[in-house]
Point group: C2
Chain length 340, copies 2
DNA sequence: CTGTTAGCGCGTTCAG
DNA sequence: CTGAACGCGCTAACAG
């Protein structure tokens, strides 16, 4: 315990340099027998090189950072899992940080990352555009590579990242509903400040436009991605006696909330109203009736993000700075059959 | 970018030692004006001390490790969140590792931890007793403090950790059922190799003993904590035409599986059979009918575990080596009223 | 109140 | 094929 390269050098009657060579497999240039002797002593002393000391000279810590809003939100564990798995596969460890969407917390985490000299950061947080921009600037100023996950930044130059084509996903869902005859579709949006929900809204609108259907904006409401908001908004709609025959929600949690609201009024799903969610969290398949939803390849998103990050860290070029993953409309029991 | 303590020392016309003093708030002993000057230069250069270099001398990295089986399992995000929150509060970052219950992976993670010289480890994994023992030994050999989370180790000397009193939880649930008149209670156990599920089984038995009721062991079955196993086991029971009036499951997922099996046969819950789960994952309150369950203070378990770990790291004594958290029977819609 | 010196544990020239 | 010397960025005595 606590043995250093110097200890094992002394015991092997060689210099630290030689030991360092065999540790790093630069053993071409080290006699086979001395090498074996060194290896044996390393084994005996249970010696582990200090990545701290090594990092001080190599400038590499083999640590990555991942910032997400909240691991408790069923979407992010999948993402984190994908990132962690591929990080581990490449010999990196992952610092996980929950920011609660607080720009201040994110800022502090990033500063900690910088002081720890980690090799790269994955950002899956920040609802505030200005916040993420200042974070990006900070990261750039200290030359730490980073990758955006899920939440993109519109307008400014494109940073490297992996995203879902949210607009396409919302378009598919809405288009299905429209083609199936619905004319009054409720849209329960996520917080419109978050780019992802904004794009989902865009897809909703675009599908209406392409199908030549007018949107009744009294059916469009902004929720907060929580189950309760979906429930309350739909209840309010029912009380206001607004007519509608379908609901498209900005995420699964709100869709499930909508389901509950509908069921508590005895409204039949999907006979009377069809419901579609977004995300495909595990819960969506367990709920009754099982929720039709726009599925994201969440795990893969984490994988891709980590891969990109590691590639830039290791100096291999990346094929493309922005990867857009394709969502897929997953039919279950809250919708009737696709037409045709 | 990349400025060091030497740079700012030179610019301030002082020695590195002085700079170090103000950085570490040992400024009692530094002139107010030199202090201000140094602070200003630090600000201008956007200087951040390297925790790598600092750690090399202080032997502290302010990093902790957390090993869990799978962040995708709804129980662990809560735990991780509690641990991360309190780690952050105390100025530590958290390495998160998913082991998939693989002792080999755990071993590798711990070796990485050692090389990174992290300050402490939280272990919430390892179904294998021999695996966890060798991990503990490894950690001890390099003098890294650790804390056991959730999964305990029976027999050997008690390591410091925070656990749930699983036996008490199972006892409460079973006792309620028994006191409410049930005589044929199904027990869907988790994998009996995992100590936690073993203790839940103990509680189940103990309650029967205390109530003077014989257990029909054909109603006791071992599942794997997955929803599907709960479903299949109960289906098999029904097909075998065994009589029972209540089901107690080793966790919520299996309880929900049992619910599905019952509902698909048109069996009324809780009128015909009462069902109780264990864990209180979020899903258990969203399912229909909402599941009565033995609630664990999961988040708090993460908090407590991190607190204990940090206390031993920082050399403050810990009041008790083993903390047992109390479960609580949470009545919802899959049970009738408690008697009395 | 401040500077000098000496490492922490390692990788990396450059000689030999 | 191997060793000596230096430096990574910082803290910690010990002097002054």
């Amino acid at each position: 315990m606590g043995s250093t390269i110097k200890d094992i050098a002394r015991l092997a009657n060689v210099s630290k340099a030689t030991v360092s060579r065999v540790i790093n497999n630069k053993s071409e240039g080290v006699g086979e027998e001395t090498k074996q002797k060194i290896l044996r002593i390393i084994e005996e002393l249970n010696y582990r090189p200090s990545l701290l000391a090594r990092g001080l000279v190599t400038k590499r810590t083999h640590s990555l950072g991942l910032i997400i809003p909240d691991i408790t939100n069923p979407f992010f564990p999948q993402l984190a899992r994908g990132a962690e798995d591929t990080a581990a596969k490449h010999g990196y460890s992952l610092f996980l940080c929950n920011s609660d969407n607080s720009p201040e917390k994110e800022q502090r985490y990033i500063e900690a990352f910088i002081e720890k000299r980690i090799d790269g950061v994955m950002l899956a947080s920040s609802i505030s555009k200005s916040a993420i921009q200042s974070q990006i600037q900070l990261l750039k100023s200290v030359d730490i590579p980073f990758t955006l996950l899920d939440r993109y930044l519109e307008g400014s130059e494109p940073e490297t990242g992996v995203f879902l084509d949210n607009q396409a996903g919302a378009y598919q869902a809405t288009d299905y509903l429209l083609k199936n005859g619905h004319r009054r579709i409720v849209f329960v949006a996520g917080p419109l400040g978050v780019m992802t929900s904004w794009y989902r809204f865009q897809g909703f609108q675009m599908a209406h436009y392409d199908n030549g259907v007018e949107i009744d904006y009294s059916l469009v409401m902004e929720g907060d991605y929580q189950l309760s908001s979906g429930k309350e908004l739909v209840e309010r709609l029912i009380e206001a006696e607004l007519e509608f025959t379908a609901i498209f929600a900005g995420n699964d949690m709100m869709a499930i909330g909508a389901l509950k609201a509908l069921q508590s009024r005895g409204i039949k799903i999907p006979e009377t109203v069809e419901v579609i969610g977004f995300d495909n969290i595990e819960l969506s398949s367990l709920v009754e009736p099982a929720l039709t939803t726009v599925a994201q390849p969440t795990y893969e998103m984490g994988v891709k993000g980590a891969q990109m990050l590691i590639r830039v860290i290791e100096g291999e070029g990346i094929p493309e700075r922005n990867v857009y993953l394709k969502p897929e409309l997953l039919f279950r029991a809250t919708t009737r059959h696709p037409v045709g």
